[in-house]
């Protein structure tokens, strides 16, 4: 990596750290409360969770196949935060949430998250070892194993959030056939296209990273959303400016 790239990268990281810290301050949040655009899919997710709790049905959360060793592992942390928050929100349900994943380390972390959520809500006795399971080590075997959970008649809400491939169309299609609520989000473009055609509530682009913030998991998530918005504007301005300068002939 060249010096310029290293320096630029380090500057961007430090700026991001500063923005997140500043925007997380209570005084700042009190003066400038975060305002985000409404995402109807997440609103319907809340309602679906409430209905699921009332009906006593289960919730299935699939957090994808990406490993923590890959660059897409950041979406893995978002998935885990979402899993934690959804487990908290569905703590009063008779059926504890079930999580499926396609990676070993992710499966272990998901079990830890579910146990923590159960402990927080004093429902540890309801947790079982198959609630956070590795359904398959390859993408298609992971989908095939998760299909077993999706087709469970006790599951009435499927939240597919993570790194998927086009094979995730099986999950969303099966969920729709079972008349279950389906919210699907992925950081993969092919999966987003498949979800848009097959799921009732797809999330496009970086809305995957906005789910914990919209579920009000913590102030840090909301401040990171604001940081992303700021950086997006900065990046857009830099791209437009660079294109103009290129056209002009400066660079």
């Amino acid at each position: 990596m060249g010096n310029l790239e290293s320096t630029l990268g380090l500057i961007i990281v430090l700026v991001t750290v500063a923005l997140i810290l500043v925007l997380s301050l209570k005084s700042w949040r009190a003066k400038h409360p975060p305002v985000f655009r409404s995402i109807p899919a997440i609103q319907r997710l809340r309602r679906a969770l409430g209905l699921s709790v009332e009906e006593g049905t289960g919730i299935h959360i699939s957090i994808g196949k990406a490993s923590l060793l890959q660059p897409s592992s950041t979406s893995a942390f978002v998935r885990l935060a979402t899993l934690h928050r959804l487990a908290q929100m569905s703590a009063t349900s008779d059926q504890p949430p079930v999580s499926t994943s396609g990676d070993g380390s992710l499966a272990v972390l998901s079990q830890d998250v579910l146990i923590a959520a159960a402990r927080e809500s004093n429902t540890l006795q309801m947790y079982q070892s198959d609630h956070g399971q590795l359904s398959g080590v390859t993408p298609l075997s992971f989908v095939a194993g998760a299909l077993n959970v999706v087709n469970d008649p006790r599951i009435k809400a499927n939240i597919l959030i993570g790194n998927f491939g086009p094979e995730a169309g099986y999950l969303s299609t099966a969920s729709e056939q079972n008349d279950a609520f389906t919210l699907a989000a992925s950081d993969s473009l092919s999966a987003q296209a498949v979800f848009y055609a097959t799921a009732s509530e797809p999330l496009i682009g970086e809305e995957l990273y906005a789910v914990p913030g919209y579920l009000q998991y913590s102030p840090a998530h909301q401040s990171s959303l604001q940081t992303q918005d700021i950086l997006r504007w900065v990046l857009a301005a830099a791209m437009i400016g660079g294109a103009i300068l290129k056209m002009v002939g400066v660079i």
């Binding site: 990596m1 319907r44 997710l45 060793l69 390859t138 086009p166 056939q177 609520f181 009732s200």
Partner: protein
Amino acid sequence: MSEKICPVCNRSNLPNAARCWYCQSLLDDEPVVGEPGAGDQEDQAAAPEVEKEIPDWLARIRARKAIETMEPSDSKPEPPVERKVAEIKPAAPTPSDKPAPSVPSGKTGSISRRPGVELPAWITELEKEVKPAEEEAESFTPPVEKVEDSDWMQKLSAWQKEDEPEEGAAEKAQPDTTPEWLAEFLSNEPPSKPEGTSITAEEFNAKVQTTEPKAGDTEPLGQLDEAEEAMRQDETYDFSVEAELELKKAEEEIPPLDESELEAGFTPLSVELPSESAAPSTKTPQEPVEEDDLDLTWLEEFKQSAAKEPPPAEEEKQPEEESTRPLAPFLGVQEHDWSTQPVVPEEKAGETGAGEGEASQPELPIWMQQLRQIESSAPAEPVKPEESSVTEGPLAGIQGALQTSELPDLYTKPPIYTNKIQVTERQSIRADLLSNIVQEIPPDAVAAGEKPVAAPRSRLMRILVGLLILAVVFMVLVAAPGTSLLPVLYPPETANAYQLVNNLGSDKPVLVAADFDAGLSGEIGFTSQALIEHLMLRNVPLAFLSTNPAGSALMSGMLTSAQVKVTSFDLSTRTVQFGYLAGGSVALQTLASDVRTALPYTAELMPAWDNALLQNVSSLSDFGALVVLTDDADTGRYWVEQVQPALGGIPLIMVTSAQSAPMLLPYYESGQVNGVVAGMSGGSAYEQILNLPGQSTFYFGAYQSLLLVVMMLILIGGVIALVLPGGIRRKA
């Protein structure tokens, strides 16, 4: 807000409270704070001890209230008192009468006035003195002033003197007349008592010894039992009478008073008070026992009368009045109107005699007076109203003995508590309603354990689409194999890839990374076949690795199938299998930094870098090229981001599936990737360039046909969806 004052602990309670919140004692008949008259009377009758406790401003307020309520209340109570006096019927001590009801100890009652029953003299006197209330009030002296000791002693002596005449007077008094003692209470005239009078021991003894019951009084002490028994035989027997009798008995038992004891403040149990005539009887107001054993109406009247009298001048009359007042046990529902009748609280026996030798008797606090009432009323044994004594058997005549003949009536079977839920009718009705509502709810269509069945129409459509797709593929392959619309111009990225491979030498190995899954290995196999065959034809040494466990096995299969066409290439001597590289993109970083550390062994666990093909390789840049076979755009991106900077100028060629080509082409356009073979179209183009037809060309026609068929299906479905109303109803 009016509050009730507890008589025991003297704490304020809610006006509607029945029991004290603090000590759980009954609050009935207690004066309510805030009611006109009741509190005033209590305040005026408060002793100096209470005055010390009560703030001055409160005492002034109470006194002012007492003064205000005194005058109008004088005329008021007469009618109710007369009415209530009329109800009083003394018990007739005749054997023919029914036994008087037993009264528990400490209870006040009233003597029912019945014909033939002689009322105590003090009662009759009270009746006479009701009307001239004002005059009597002036001459009223508190019994405390007369006697240095307790008031109950005065009362006792008053009873002894006035019993007989009062009974006679009671006979004469009709139901409309007020008893004398009661009238005296109602009036403001305290019993006359010279100030400064204190009784000596001799006088006390004389009084005790020489006390003769008046006409109409209760029987002499010797005949007390008979009278007591007669009274008890009366149905309306009041335990207050019982208390009186008990007192008389106690008087008999009291030894003569010693001067030393008197000087020391000993309070004799009974003292003959000089103001007997004027003092109201200390007997309780006459009320039927069966109405309420806790009748304290007379007490209310005492307090009201005490509150009405002028404080400085009339305090002296209080002891006298109290002396003749009937014994007032503590609790009871008062039928009398306390607010209209003066009530003089009794002093506690023995307390005032301790330090009061002066003529002026200070006002006792209300609680003390009430306590004296309690103490003055001798607690009777808990004899039942129906039977006060045994009438037959060896225990006949003994009071308080258990009635063995009536034991079965006394003791009942203990209640049996069951575990049954006590459901009221209303609750059962509501439960039935709820069960009916629940039963009306139709059962869920998807029962537990049952899989939801897809709509038949949807399943049929899916089957039809599948059959159509298969039919198209088979039809093209069977009817027109190899027929396809080939592009005229080759894609530049494919052409570039071909050029790069064509320029490779046979001295440097090429690192081939198989980073694809088994699902898309078919397409990757079709796409990469021509490139691998081209490498084999160039006799370029190949080093294979995979970042997923199945990739190396799949790569071996592809090499085997490629060798079928290029038989000159020896897989055993011209290839090195590194096997599975664990770690994902982290391993790629390690690979980029130090390839020998990242890949120390071959798939056969042999030292990799001892192989002749790799002896001159120490870093990635020592390879001839890097060829990445991937079906995932992210994987290709990782190779570009992590490994490409460390290649050192060697070409990076990517063989991808059609779905990830759009994401990787920008890398080609930016120069980070030197060649791309994307999908079956790229593979077929490469085969055309190589002039070596392969599977890509063979299946490309079917692929094109399938694309068109799917496009038609989507178009038809979209048009139908736009034309038909409504859509898929969202859940939630």
